[in-house]
């Protein structure tokens, strides 16, 4: 980045800034994994980087399992459209976070209740802290406009069932 800017200032190249940061609508698998993709490399927050490399809180890292996704990263809102008498319960785990994207696992208490009716249930995701989604090249954070996305949630397989086996 610094090299590009320097060359642009010297008139050697024409600097074209990267497009605004966007996260593409995630795909939700039948075992509750949400894959979120970024449209360009983003800075991975330092405490996440350190946490993923096994460093503890005293060293400035947080293990991914201790991150409160809902409170601090992305707010997930499950929209129940089917089987409205059923009580849906779920928790969230941050699975991975790289420059290219991140993964969140939805642990449904009873996966068989999901999207069991005529209409698929849906998940709306709202980025809570825009400063955690910053372009590596421009340093610009994601805008409010691009911070919300939604996806239908497919029917889920029971716990400890391989989706490969079910989809065959």
């Amino acid at each position: 980045m610094a090299k590009k800017l320097k060359e642009a200032k010297e008139g050697k190249i024409k600097y074209v800034p990267p497009p605004p940061v966007k996260v593409s609508a995630p795909t939700i698998t039948r075992d509750g994994k949400i894959g979120i993709k970024f449209n360009q490399p983003l800075q991975v927050p330092d405490f996440i980087k350190k946490g993923q490399s096994g460093r503890l809180l005293a060293e400035g890292g947080i293990p991914l399992s201790e991150i409160n996704v809902q409170r601090d990263i992305i707010e997930f809102i499950f929209i129940q459209k089917s089987g409205l008498d059923d009580k849906i319960e779920y928790s969230l785990d941050l699975d991975h976070w790289t420059e290219e994207g991140m993964g969140v696992k939805i642990n449904f208490k009873n996966p068989l209740l999901i999207s069991k009716g005529k209409n698929n249930d849906a998940m709306v995701s709202v980025i809570k802290n825009k400063n955690l989604f910053v372009s590596k090249e421009s340093g610009e954070p994601i805008s409010s406009k691009h911070s919300t996305f939604a996806n239908p949630v497919p029917r889920q397989v029971p716990h400890s069932t391989s989706i490969e086996v079910v989809d065959e």
Binding site: I79, T148, A150
Partner: protein
């Protein structure tokens, strides 16, 4: 040559009888949309499993501030 009806400064006036085109529905609007003849949708937030260790709010706040300062 332009006729008196084709003056280049003329504004293009939309046909008042033509129905206005609806803007495309966003995925969020579509997710929240209630289907016809369906009961109201229910909104459900996540829970925290008992016994799960999560980073303290104050510790997180300070890490987020550090991250912001670094960016």
């Amino acid at each position: 040559m332009l006729s008196k009806f084709e003056d280049e400064d003329d504004e293009v006036v939309a046909d008042p009888d033509k129905p206005k085109e609806k803007p495309a529905e966003s995925p969020v609007e579509s997710a929240l949309k209630q289907e016809k003849n369906e009961p109201e949708v229910k909104v459900v937030g996540p829970t925290i499993p008992p016994g799960k260790v999560l980073v303290d709010n104050k510790v997180m706040e300070s890490l987020l501030k550090e991250n912001e300062a670094r960016a």
